[in-house]
Every structure is written in C-alpha cells, then in structure tokens.
C-alpha cells in the first residue's frame, strides 16, 4: 500500500529537498507518523506536542480537505496527501 505525501515548498528543506514522499498506512495519522519518523525535522513543524496537527496546517486527500478528525481519515493505495497552510487572502 503506497500513499504519496506531497511536501509543500515551505517544508521541503526539512525533508532533504523531497517534493513527494511515498509512505504506507491506513489513515492520515499513520502516514504522517511514518513521514516524521523518516524526516524527524518535520515533526515539530507538523505536529503539536500532543500529537495533533498544528493549527497552521490543513491536510487534503486527493484534493479534498480531510477536516475534521484529520488524523483518523482513512486512505487507500494510490491516494495523494497534500499538506497546506491556510492563507487568508491573496
């Protein structure tokens, strides 16, 4: 089972410059856990101290928001996870 996590530009420097990283897991939480195990510097940027996603981020699965209960959302083989931070304007 392979899930692609799209690493946004603002996090790529913490992931050795990788733009997309393949992970495995049945939920968003499991996928992100594997991601931060492989790239530990991402952990503090993505997760709070109690294991939640920082308020400054939102997660998309195949272009759809994973909110609410982001970490419990199921994923399937071939899904693409995007990590984004909201911009209130443009």
């Amino acid at each position: 089972m392979s899930i692609a996590v799209n690493i946004p530009p603002f996090l790529q420097t913490l992931a050795d410059g990788m733009k997309q990283i393949d992970v495995s897991g049945d939920t968003v939480g499991e996928c992100l856990d594997e991601l931060v195990k492989r790239y530990p510097r991402l952990k503090d940027r993505v997760f709070t101290g109690v294991g939640k996603i920082h308020k400054g981020f939102n997660i998309f699965i195949n272009g759809e928001s994973a909110s609410p209960d982001v970490l419990a959302k199921p994923v399937e083989d071939g899904d693409i996870i995007h990590i984004a931070h909201p911009i209130f304007g443009g």
Binding site: P8, F60, S65, P86, I87
Partner: protein
C-alpha cells in the same frame, strides 16, 4: 485613560480649502475606525446618484487606530469611495508605510473633495497641508512620482499616488504606495478624476494612544504569539507565492477565462519556480513577515523585469486567464501594473476576456491592433497591459472593464465577462469553492476574494464549522467571514495576520487601549460592529440601486460545468443561487429583494438609513 477618536483632514480641491476635525465620539463608539469610519462618513456625506468621476464624489483614505505603533500587521490603510467601475461602495486596502505616516502626521482619515482645475498634489506634515502644482510629475509613472516627491521632501516622506492609468481614467486604476497598491474598484480613477496626482506625507514617528502603557504590554504579547505561530513562519518564508500549488491541486485555479479549474503543466508555475527568481523581500510598517517577495528575471525576453511580487492573485492574473506558464511574463506584467497604476486582477481578467472573445471570433485581428490573442501566448498580454494604461486602440475598450466592454461589443459578449457588479473575479473558481463564490455574489464591492475569504472551502479551515466546498448551504459561514473581515478592518488588520493566533482576543484589547473605549475588548461587540459596517455598506448600495438582481455570479458559473482536468470537482456548477440568496438574506435580516429590514437597521443602530430604504424602489 483619555479618549482617542482620531482626527480627519478635509481637503477641498475645488476651493483649495483645508480643514481638520476631531472625529466625534459617537462615530467612534459605533464604528471603531478604519473601514467603519469609511462607510460612516461616505454614507453621511455622499449624495445618492452622484457621478463617481464627478467632483461630488469623495475619496477617503484611512488608517486604523492601531497604525504606526509597536503592534504588528495593523498599519495597513484603505481607500473608500463610490466606485467608477461598479457604481457601488468601494473599499480597497493597501500596505507599505503610508498608513503609519498618515498617523504620524496626526490623522486617521483624509477626505478629498471637489476637483482641482489642473493637476495637483497634496503635501501633508504634522504642521500643515498644502495643495501644490503637479505639472512636473503628471504623466510620470508611480516609481518616478514617488522618487520625485522624496527628492523634494526627504527620506521621511511616504507617498500614495496614481500612474498614467489613473490619469487616463482607466476604470480600474490603482493607488500605489511604494510597490503596494489599493488596487480594486478604481480608487486611482477617482483620484485621477480629481486631478490629484499624489498625497505625500512627511512626518516623524509619533504615538497617539489612549493608554500607551497597556497598549505596549499587549503589543509585546502579540509579538510573542505571532513569532511562535506556524502560519506566520510559513508566510514569512513564502508569502503567497505558493498558494497556486494548492489551488491547482484542488481544482480552483481559474484558467482560460474561468473554463478550467486547473492549469495544464502547473508544475511550471509553482512557488518553487518563483523561488528560483527571488531576489529579496519587502514588508509593511511594523510587520515581521516581509511577505512581499521580490523577483528579478535574469534571462530571456523579459530579462531585467523586477517586481515586488507577483503575489498569488497577480501570479494568477498573468498566467491563468490566458493559460500562460511564463513566470517571467507574470513578473514583467506585475512590474508594469505597479508602474502604470493598474489593478492586476481586473487587468488580467480583462485580458482573459479579450482572449476568449478572440477565440470565439467576437474580436478579430482588426479589432486587436493586429495582436493574435491565442491562449498560451504571453507577449500580447504584455502589450495589452500597456495599451490599457494608455487607452490605446483595443486598450481603450478594455480599460472600461469587462462589464462595459461586453455591453459595447454586444453579440453575446456578456456571457464571457467574468465579474460581479462590474468587478472582475479574482483567483478562486466559484464552482469549486462555493462559499467563496457566494462571498463574491454578496460582497458589497463586487467580486473580491478578501471581503469574506472562505478559508473553510479553500483550505479546510474548520472554524466556525467545516464546510463541504461544493455545498451551496453555507450562508451562515459566508456571513461569519464577511462580518469578521469587516470588524478586523476597523483595525486595520492585515488579512494574512488575522490567521496568526492573536485575533480576536488581543485585537479587541489593543483597540480598547488605543481608543480608551473598554467595550472594544468585547468580541461580541466587535462582531456587532462588523455586522453594522456590512449592513451600512449594503444600505449605501441599495440607495444606489443595487438589489437582488445584481447579486449574481456570471452566467458561466450558473450554466456551464467546471472542468478540472486532473483535480476533483469535474462538472461542478452553481445551481442553487436563488435558494442561497433566500437563506443569506433571511439570516442577514434583509427582505427578499436584499434590502436591510427596518428592524435590522434599528437593531444595529442604523436608524438614520431607514428613510433611504423605504424611499427606494426596486429597479
């Protein structure tokens, strides 16, 4: 604690008279400042039905009660007027330093009235104000104009000015300060119509606060919160230059005049690609983000192009509408718009409109001065930007905006004009983010992304509740976003900084300390102020003949399915606009025609507008 309501400067260009007034406590209590002051004065002082480009229109430049101090990201300023592009209420927000400098000179509001006989500029200091001959700078671009005024008055001078587009009365001309713009709604056009080239402020830093000690403590608290906020850290690094990565991925990046929600090969225009051409950053007064990313083109036909930006909206405006993947062309177009004084969103929208008319055969090569407007070709786009600013050839038609240009062309061209109330649509596809689309529909200035930004639809923000972005049943969320924006713009809080963890609680406390009015620390009261501002703006529009009929998305969104290529949302349409408006008006306390109900106006303390609502007949 003393009361600090702020002062206004009134400049009558017809008579040459200049006067100052202290803003009455009653206005401050009800409207706080910034956008609240703008609509309050505009409603009371502007007679209905005046020509937006006539001498009876007024131009209001405002900062907020928090500007020019230690608090972060609150020194923005705005312009309020009656728009020549839409005929409706106009508010356009700008950054850089001008708002702080206006405060240093001792003012929160400048009201420009009348019309000068010949081109003039205004020079303002803490000691006085002069109306001076602008013969030497009329015709110059915004960079040259600001440099000239800095040479005259020294480095402690900040300027807001127009470029050739404003002088030529392009309907969507901008007011430019440094390299930031009050871009939307044709505020620069109104300035041009008054023969006013610039307002320059020379001033030294000066604090104006009711309780400086309390304010300082709160500001330090705010600095700590912002510094540790992830959203801030990301914004500092990237600004908005990577937003297109997500909007393309989810299918809301408008392409080919709003036919597609994703650009082919959008990997060529990602934030990472812009990062390669970044040569610096710029920011606004007392903001640590410095989110304006400077780009310089180093090779190719646009070598040497250099711009503070483009930011997300402008990246889109000069790629998506014509489906160009040239980031270099977008940088060149951004530079031109800033120099010439054009709103990038309306400029890009008008150009995308022209490309589609060319494709459909409604504009021919003989109509376009020989330009071949074929999707993907960016060279004609650059030529059109210049032609629009100078009103040359086809540029004269496009300078009127899509609504008027379509009416002039006829032959069904209206179907391709992407605007609401005459204001061109920004960079979020309404069919893929419907709460954002309905914000365009109901925003008092027309299609503006920042009037009630639907971060719930676009970024999955779960407050006040999560939304399904394809649902048309989120009227409560649209209102939440719009009223929240209105109260934050009393500040005037930067839209980006509103998401950095200190609004609303600290914002209200800062307002209370700045003004000396305790109730401003109450979030419920600020929400009521937001609703009061929004409703009075609506009343202004009703008085000008805007009702339900004008609350509509372009025909394309209602009749054509969205195509999203590889993104989700294929086939989406807006299908329940009437039902949405019924619900929205009901929640707002408005009639079926979209007129604020007498009871609602009384509840908000807007009794003075009642007479205008009862007098008005539906057009």
């Amino acid at each position: 604690m003393t009361l600090n309501t702020g002062r206004l400067l009134r400049v009558d260009l017809s008579s040459g008279k200049v006067s100052t007034e202290t803003i009455p406590e009653s206005i401050t209590e009800d409207f706080v400042g910034g956008r609240g002051y703008g609509i309050s004065y505009l409603y009371q002082e502007l007679a209905p039905g005046i020509d937006p480009l006539g001498e009876k229109n007024k131009l209001m430049m405002l900062n907020g009660p928090l500007a020019g101090n230690m608090a972060q990201a609150v020194s923005r300023w705005m312009v309020c007027t009656r728009s020549p592009l839409t005929g409706a209420f106009a508010r356009s927000v700008c950054g850089a330093d001008f708002g702080a400098w206006l405060k240093f000179a001792g003012y929160e509001l400048i009201i420009v009235e009348g019309k000068a006989e010949k081109p003039v500029y205004v020079h303002l200091t803490a000691d006085g104000c002069q109306i001076l001959d602008a013969g030497e700078i009329w015709g110059k671009d915004t960079k040259e104009t600001q440099a000239w005024l800095t040479r005259q008055y020294g480095s402690n001078t900040r300027t807001a000015c127009i470029g050739p587009a404003g002088e030529n009365l392009v309907k969507y001309a901008a007011i430019v300060s440094d390299r930031r713009t009050a871009g939307r709604c044709g505020t620069g056009t109104v300035m041009g119509s008054k023969n006013l080239k610039a307002i320059a402020v020379t001033a030294e830093r000066k604090i104006q606060l009711a309780d400086a000690e309390a304010y300082d403590k709160l500001a330090r608290e705010q600095v700590d919160i912002i510094r540790n906020n992830r959203g801030f850290q990301n914004h500092k690094e990237w600004g908005t230059t990577a937003t297109q990565d997500i909007t393309n991925a989810i299918g809301v990046y408008p392409v080919q005049n709003f036919r597609y929600g994703q650009q082919t090969d959008y990997e060529k225009i990602t934030g990472e690609q812009y990062r390669k051409l970044r040569t610096g950053d710029m920011g606004c007064y007392s903001c640590p983000a410095r989110c304006g990313k400077v780009h310089t083109v180093t090779s190719g036909v646009y070598a040497g192009a250099h711009s503070e930006g483009p930011e997300y909206e402008t990246i889109w405006a000069f790629t998506g509408p014509i489906e160009s993947n040239s980031i270099e062309a977008s940088i060149a177009a951004d530079q031109l718009c800033d120099d010439l004084g054009l709103d990038t969103i309306s400029t890009g929208g008008c150009i995308g409109f022209a490309y589609e008319l060319y494709e459909k055969g409604l504009l021919k090569k003989s109509d376009t001065d020989g330009l071949e407007l074929i999707y993907g070709r960016h060279e004609p786009m650059i030529t059109l930007v210049k032609k629009i600013a100078r009103r040359e050839g086809i540029g004269d038609l496009l300078a009127e905006g899509t609504m008027r240009a379509a009416a002039t062309i006829g032959k069904g061209a209206e179907a391709y004009a992407m605007h609401v109330k005459g204001l061109e649509l920004p960079a979020y596809e309404p069919r893929g983010a419907k709460s954002q689309g309905y914000n365009y529909v109901t925003a008092n200035i027309g299609a503006n992304h920042c009037y009630g930004y639907a971060a719930q639809d676009i970024f999955g923000v779960p407050e006040p509740r999560p939304t399904d972005r394809f649902s048309e049943e989120n009227a409560d969320v649209v209102i939440y976003n719009q009223d929240g924006t209105a109260f934050k713009e009393t500040g005037i809080v930067c839209g980006f900084a509103g998401g950095w963890g200190w609004v609303p609680d600290l914002f209200g406390k800062l307002l209370a300390a700045a003004r000396g009015i305790e109730r401003f620390a109450d979030n419920d009261y600020l929400n009521q102020v937001g609703a009061r501002i929004f409703n009075l703006e609506r009343a202004f529009n009703v008085r000008e003949g805007f009702y339900r009929k004008q609350d509509t998305l372009p025909e394309r969104m209602l009749t054509e399915p969205l195509h999203t290529r590889k993104a989700p949302g294929e086939g989406q349409m807006v299908s329940h606009q009437d039902e949405f408006l019924d619900e929205y008006y009901s929640l707002r306390g408005w009639t079926k025609e979209g007129i604020p109900d007498p009871e609602k106006l009384k509840e908000l303390g807007l009794d003075f507008a009642l007479k205008d609502m009862t007098r008005t007949k539906t057009k």
